[in-house]
Subunit: 351 residues, 2 copies
């Protein structure tokens, strides 16, 4: 009795999936080498020690699917009724690597590889640039190449870079480039850095189940609370996994931020031009990757407005066509459904 | 034009506030001594180094109000239309202390002090027992005394105890006692332990704005994912601050938990008798302390059902009578409003 999912506007909208992952073999090889040499952080050891080597059905499937930018992926998209995928180099990109020349080479070749796939499937695949935040100036050049030569639509940063965050001064050129070149900045999770991971690995909770959201919401909140969007009012930040929970918490963030600023509790926190809600509603976009949850999606729309919440699938990590059926059936007006599945992504990523 | 807030059923329900804090002077003295001696963890140093010593308007007010279990508190409740308050020794209770005999003495005397105040205001104040998880057996005895001799209605644990969590075997007597004596377990935040706090203090984010929720949702998720509620199906866990976000995330928790169990990723995670949604809807209760947010409260009710979501004010940390007006105006049926403000708390805490 299950309805077949089709592309092409079956329900009055195209379905765009905005947080879809691919890998290159040399990326995985480099990360696994770090893991084997004991030079990776605990989050990477857990993530890629598992996905890179486990013989389980899940990991074998995911490895195969990550490396494919061709028929397997198109077939999966067709079967799930996904018209377009916005693709990015899977977490942690090259951000865990220590050899910066190697990291830049891998990111750059991943970008070329992705651009070729997008050229081959111009109606289905849309790329985001991979950068190497370890070298901000190089990353700016690669952002420019990604946008102007490779036709990419955003940049994905996989949260921390060796425990450092984009609000730190060293990364300012990257934020400036995104703002000036009008490149959406998608911050994707990875595990928390070692000084923040505590016993999460032993508890089995440092990954996508929990630690990812801790890490990424922390990153986003660092940006929101330190004036980044006052410096760059046009900067647009996309967050997956239900905007990493930020809209659920925004009233508490705002109350406690203002209480802290008024009492001068933290030297780092200073008055901002706007309340935190303002940035959430003017500089942040949400996707529902990994969270195919009508109640949570409605909260996002309620808090952020219907123009900033987008669909994502998180293929191949969470490829569940039934989730598309569930979301198709959400109790939302037709025009909001079209914004969610199609037009918001078209607007942000200029598809 | 603001409507005066009154107690006594002004809107068709009594208003019960379920996460209200008090302190004793010897508790604050002991914590501040640790801070001064450099023996407190970073979260405690930040929290009580600030609240205990800052001359700001906010902290002066909070210190005075925490120490009062009399007229100031009753007056504040009257002015905010709060009929009843469920009270607990403020975070971190005695859990940061190293001298266990001292800690037990402080907890025990705080319980006596609270019981006396409840006896003086039997229609307004309702207590939760303070325990010292550093000594689980003593805590069991104090739980029994709290329930049977002092007439208390629950127990508040301020999340980790020196970096340890209630799912660890050493604390099993406490969980068993709560289940067997039908004592609701309220897990209240404190800052994350040092191995999990990373750069949060420097970022100004380790406290109520963010780190509290990381710490407490982590604690709750450890309980949910390790069979605690299979061992003790009658155990009832209360979480503040919008159930610390768990209902927003529950689909992702459940998907990733099951994916991890199936692929045997973590030795610690084993199949449970039920999906995680089951425990959320049968063993967990939410309060909206610090989150006076209709959108978030509606999500809680949507996901957990209308019988498990309760009102809280977080006095004196967040004493904002206008929040009561805002929540009075929530677009929810009258019978749901009564459950939220009154009957759910009456049922859980047996008021």
């Amino acid at each position: 009795m299950t309805e077949e999912l089709k592309t092409g506007g079956q329900k009055g909208y195209l379905r765009i999936a905005t947080e879809e992952a691919f890998a290159t073999q040399e990326q995985l090889d480099a990360i696994l080498r770090l893991v084997k040499e004991g030079r990776a952080d605990k989050g990477t050891v857990s993530l890629w020690g598992f996905y890179g080597t486990s013989p389980s059905e899940r990991t074998t499937y995911i490895r195969e699917r990550l490396l494919d930018l061709g028929p397997l992926r198109i077939e999966a998209m067709d079967a799930a009724g996904i018209d377009k995928a916005v693709l990015a180099l899977t977490s942690p990109g090259v951000q865990s690597l220590h050899d910066i020349e190697e990291a830049k080479g891998i990111a750059s070749r991943a970008n070329d590889h992705l651009a070729a796939a997008c050229e081959k499937h111009p109606d289905r695949f849309f790329g985001m640039t991979a950068i190497c935040p370890q070298d901000p100036e190089w990353s700016v050049t690669e952002l420019k190449r990604g946008k102007e030569e490779l036709g990419f639509h955003g940049v994905q940063v996989n949260s921390h870079t060796h425990g450092h965050y984009l609000d730190e001064e060293r990364f300012d050129p990257i934020l400036r480039a995104c703002a000036e070149m009008d490149i959406p900045l998608y911050i994707h999770p990875q595990g928390p850095p070692d000084p923040m991971i505590g016993g999460m690995v032993e508890a089995g909770l440092e990954g996508a189940i929990f630690g990812f959201a801790v890490e990424t919401s922390y990153h986003a909140l660092r940006l929101l609370t330190t004036g980044v969007f006052d410096r760059y009012p046009s900067l647009q930040l996309a967050l997956g996994h239900g905007c990493e929970g930020l809209p659920f918490w925004i009233d508490r963030f705002d109350y406690m931020f203002n209480a802290g600023v008024r009492s001068k509790r933290y030297p780092r926190l200073k008055p901002l031009e706007h309340g935190l809600h303002h940035y959430l509603r003017n500089n942040v976009w949400a996707t529902n990757s990994g969270l195919p949850s009508p109640a949570s999606i409605k909260l996002l729309i309620d808090v952020m407005g219907e123009d900033r919440v987008m669909h994502a699938m998180d293929y191949p990590y969470q490829y569940v066509p039934d989730e598309v059926r569930l979301l198709d059936a959400m109790d939302l007006p037709a025009e909001v459904m079209k914004k969610f599945y199609q037009s918001n992504a078209e607007r942000l990523f200029k598809l």
